[in-house]
Symmetry: C2
C-alpha cells in the first residue's frame, strides 16, 4: 500500500493494515488462532488466492505474522500472529462494535462462519448473573457449531460442541443473534425458523449492553 505520508498515528496504522482484506486476515488469526493457508481461505470467503498470498507476505514483512513449519505428522505451514499483530485486537473490537449496527439486515448473499459469532456476542452481550453457575449454549448456524460459555460476567464464544449444553439454538445466524439479543422472543423463534432445545428462560441471563455507540 502506498503510504499516506502523514506523521499521524492513525495514518501510520493504516499504512500497515489499511489495505483491503488485511484486517480481516488478522481477524481470522485472532479468532481461530494459528492457521494453515487453507484455513484462512476458508475463513475469508471471497478473497482471491493471490491476494491472500500477497497479504500474508506483507503481514510477515511488517512483523505482524510469523510463518512456522509445523512438525510432522502435520507437516504444513502455520501462520501465527506476533505480539504486534495480536495488539490489533482492541482496534478490531472497536470496529466490530461500531459495525454491530449493520448486523440487523444481512444481504442474502452474505457468507457466514461460526467463529464470527465471537465479536457480536462478546461485544454486545454480558452475563447478568456473574455469580451464577456456568451456562453453555450451543449454536448451530448450519456450518460448524459454536459454543457460548456464560460465566463470571462475560459471554465467551468458541468453535466446537458442548458436552452437555444447557441450551441449543439451531437456525440462521441472523436469527440466533436476534434471539440472543432479545430482539426476538423464544415464543416467536419456531415460527421464524429457529429451533430451541432446552429451557429458553435461561436466555435472560444474557443481557445486551445497550450503552454502546
Amino acid at each position: 500500500m502506498r503510504s499516506y505520508g502523514q506523521y499521524c498515528s492513525v495514518a501510520k496504522a493504516l499504512d500497515v493494515v489499511g489495505d483491503r482484506w488485511t484486517l480481516l486476515i488478522v481477524r481470522e488469526l485472532l479468532l481461530q488462532g494459528p492457521c494453515r493457508y487453507t484455513d484462512l481461505r476458508n475463513g475469508l470467503p471471497g478473497i482471491a488466492t493471490n491476494l491472500l498470498a500477497d497479504r500474508l507476505n506483507e503481514l510477515e514483512g511488517a512483523g505482524l505474522v510469523r510463518r512456522e513449519e509445523a512438525a510432522p505428522p502435520v507437516a504444513t505451514t502455520l501462520f501465527r500472529l506476533t505480539e504486534a499483530g495480536a495488539g490489533l485486537e482492541p482496534a478490531l473490537e472497536a470496529l466490530g462494535s461500531w459495525g454491530l449496527r449493520y448486523m440487523a439486515e444481512p444481504a442474502d448473499s452474505d457468507e457466514f462462519r461460526s467463529q464470527w459469532f465471537t465479536f457480536p456476542v462478546g461485544l454486545f452481550l454480558h452475563d447478568a448473573e456473574p455469580d451464577g453457575p456456568p451456562l453453555s449454549i450451543e449454536l448451530r448456524p448450519g456450518g460448524r457449531p459454536a459454543v457460548v460459555e456464560v460465566r463470571d460476567g462475560e459471554a465467551r464464544t468458541r468453535l466446537g460442541s458442548a458436552e452437555a449444553p444447557d441450551l441449543v439454538l439451531e437456525g440462521p445466524p441472523r436469527l440466533i443473534l436476534r434471539l440472543l439479543g432479545a430482539y426476538v422472543s423464544p415464543a416467536q423463534a419456531p415460527g421464524l425458523g429457529l429451533a430451541i432445545t432446552g429451557d429458553p428462560a435461561l436466555l435472560r441471563r444474557l443481557q445486551p449492553l445497550r450503552q454502546a455507540e
Copy 2:
C-alpha cells in the same frame, strides 16, 4: 467499495469505512469539528480532490456525514459528522493507539498538522497529578500552534494559543512528542533543535501510560 459479503460486524464496518482515505476524513472531522471542503483538503495532504469529493458523497450516503449550508456571512458548505460518524471515535483511538509504535521514526517527507498531536498526546500521556492546578503547554511545531491542557488526570489537546502558557515547546513534531513522552530529557532538547520556554520540571506531571500493547 465492493462489499466483502460477510455477515460479520468487522467486515460490515469495513464495507462502510474501509476505503482508502475514508477513516482519515473522519479523523479530520473528529479533530477539527465541522469543516469546509478546503479545511478538509488542508488536513488531508496528499488526497486527490476528486477522491475527497467522492468520499464525502459516500460518507453522506452512508449517513456518517451531514452537509450544512452555513448562513451568511460565511456562506459556505460545512461538513459535519453525524452521531453514527462520531461513533467511530473509539475505533480511531484504538487504531491510533496501535499506530503509536510507528511514530518513533517519521519519514523525511511526512506531512504534519497540529491537530494530529491530539491522538498521540491524549492516548499515550496522562496527568500524574489530577488534583494539581491546570497546566497549559503550547506546542509550536512550525505550522499552527496547539495547546495541551493538563488537568483532572487527563491531557487534552486543541488548536490555538494559550493566553499564559506555563511552558512553550518549539521544534519539529517528532521532538515535541519525544520530549512530552520523556524519551528525550529537557537538557538534551536544545542540542537537538527543540526550544523550551518555561520550567521544564513541569513536564514531570505528564506521564506515559506504558501499559499499552
